[in-house]
Amino acid sequence: MSVPMGSQTKIEEGIILRINNLHTYFYTDIGISRALNGVSLDIPAGKVMGVVGESGCGKSVTALSCMRLLPKSAKIMQGDITLYRPIKKEQGTSRIVDEIKLTDLDPMSLEIRNIRGAELAMIFQEPMTSLNPSYTVGDQISEAIILHQEVGAEEAKERTIRILTQVGMANPTAIFRRYPHELSGGMRQRAMIAMALSCTPDVLFADEPTTALDVTTEAQILDLMRDLQAAMGMTIVFITHNLGVVAQMCDYVAVMYLGRIVEQAGVEDIFYNSKHPYTSALLNSIPHVGSRIKERLQAIRGVVPDPYSSIQGCPFHPRCDRAIPGICNVRVPAITQISEGHTVRCFLYSEKAEENNAS
């Protein structure tokens, strides 16, 4: 396999997944919804990257686009997604890298199916409905193992029990034979995590995995994920709207609004040095301990616009207190680098507009 210069750089920079100017549109009876409108994201290997935003901003669609799990009504119109796979050679220290453009693959093809589960895995929000009620937990996990690791049923069962132990299940041999409806919410989510990690994937997409759980269980699951991530050196893309969880879990954060990434930085920078007005507004809207009782919560002015409408200029400007008339409502800001690893899309920090002014 040839080693393009670029990929060498990528793996040295430690990037495992690169999303480049992704446009994903949904074609429905009512109109076209531009779910992703130019998303560019570099996901560092072995770290936890959080993707935050309000409902409908496109966080899940980003993950689904990477996994090529979009419904038939969605199309990737523009842009690409590249997965970099490190292949360690025994001799020498040169790390050859294999890169594969996920967007080039047919969503039904054997190639992408080999990648799903084995290299890219995903867990979903509702543990209740994410597991098939008609098969035992053990069956469902073994299924993935048999598919990707080409072992027999016996060996798969061994590995399943091992991974169930790793996710902290008390009695893995018994759990193997249980049906999903016999488990509690927390146990189901552990089972889901076990299923996703059973084939030791390189990247795990976690789409709001703890939103449906109570806070105690949530804390346990987050701890578990943190431990597993450290133990396996796995990359996690953690999608959530809960900034508290972000603070606890993530190394890097990307803030999304209406199909674009408006700010991207290390977790410290996002919380203490945010630049984009939306990020600041989000942080301000969190009620904090110690605030005066009679103080009103600071909601962000306005509502999330209809995804079928199009807004000219920066998508956030109608709700932005610091919008510059004549600029913000006319052109779309380009990505500006604030510092190492910290980028923003805002005219407050740049005069440059994005090249394709698609609105």
Binding site: M67, L69, M108, R113, N114, I115, R116, G117, A118, A121, M122, F124, Q125, E126, T129, S130, L131, N132, P133, S134, Y135, E143, A144, L147, H148, Y179, H181, M192, M195, A196
Partner: protein, 327 residues
């Protein structure tokens, strides 16, 4: 699972008792018993039944005794295998029903298998290929299947078979084979005569079932666990047939029990038109002639067949859906 079956059997027994009571009431409904009208008719014609015959008839059916005694005589007869006597044919009812009942059940079962297989295929196909032309065609066929009365369909198919396919229709065998010994030819002839009944009896069931199948599968395909299965990297066929279908089939099995009456009903009329030696024609004739013991026995037996069928469907449902077992 075992306790579940026992409970259902218990319920079935109770229902069975009530069914026999209702069956008996129905038998007694027509004004005037056959015996009395028969006696009256014979007297009119000048003949007469010998007093001993009248006495024995009266005694056998307990016509001189109160209702519940008569009911008890009838029921206890069941256990002994004595279902009374058919007035019109002057034969024991038990002689007449077994072979016909068996054939009815055979046809119903074959229709069931045929219509289910077809419904599943059509339903899954139209759910996974929405808004395509075959999907619309299937929808049209479904509507027609539901609207056409099955005896009409039988007639149309018979005309078609006779005119276009130049086949001899009606009955189980062609005239050439009726009394012939069994051979390959005879078996083929039998099959030739069976396809019309099987298609017709199952037709409306197929139409309705495939719509339910389509609706259920569409529901299930929206479920999160289908997406999880895809995310694992499974082939789309595996996702649909192993994961989605398995859950979409539950409501179908729930209505499996409910579709059985339609099968037996349909078989009744269709066999009349097609001249099949099943319960249908005999039952209807019995009713028309007020031969109530024959009709009543048939009715109760058909109800029993249905109850057993429902039990089978419930057990099947419990086996397929683990959640039901714990109710």
């Amino acid at each position: 699972m075992g306790s579940y079956i026992l409970r259902r059997l218990g319920y079935m027994a109770i229902t069975m008792v009530i069914v026999t009571i209702l069956g008996y009431i129905i038998i007694e409904l027509p004004p005037g018993s056959y015996v009395e009208s028969e006696i009256a008719r014979l007297r009119q014609q000048g003949g007469n039944l010998a007093p001993e015959q009248i006495q024995s008839l009266y005694k056998r059916y307990g016509l001189d005794q109160p209702e519940y005694i008569r009911f008890w005589k009838w029921i206890s007869g069941f256990v002994r295998g004595d279902f009374g006597q058919s007035f019109a044919y002057n034969l024991e009812v038990s002689q007449m029903i077994w072979s016909r009942l068996a054939l009815t059940l055979v046809f119903s079962l074959l229709s069931l298998i045929f219509s289910w297989t077809l419904a599943i295929i059509l339903g899954v196909y139209s759910a996974t290929h929405r808004y395509t032309i075959p999907d619309y065609l299937i929808t049209v066929l479904q509507f027609i299947g539901l609207a056409v009365p099955n005896f009409l369909l039988a007639l149309v198919l018979m005309v078609f078979a006779q005119d276009v396919l130049k086949m001899e229709v009606g009955g189980l065998f062609s005239s050439a084979y009726v009394n012939a010994p069994w051979s390959i030819g005879k078996v083929l002839d039998l099959l030739n005569h069976m396809w019309i009944p099987i298609i017709v009896i199952g037709a409306s069931g197929t139409a309705w079932l495939s719509r339910v199948m389509r609706a259920n599968l569409l529901d299930v395909l929206n479920m999160q666990y289908v997406q999880t299965a895809r995310a694992k990297g499974l082939h789309e066929n595996v996702v649909i047939w192993k994961h989605a279908f398995r859950n979409a089939i539950h409501p179908l099995i729930m209505v499996l029990g409910g579709s059985l009456p339609g099968l037996i009903s349909g078989e009744t009329i269709v066999s009349l038109v097609l001249n099949l030696p099943t319960t249908g024609p005999l039952y209807v004739n019995a009713l028309l002639q007020k031969d109530m013991y024959l009709a009543g026995a048939f009715l109760v037996f058909l109800a029993l067949a249905l109850l057993i069928g429902n039990l089978g469907a419930d057990i099947l449902l419990a086996w397929v859906d683990p959640r039901i077992r714990y109710e």
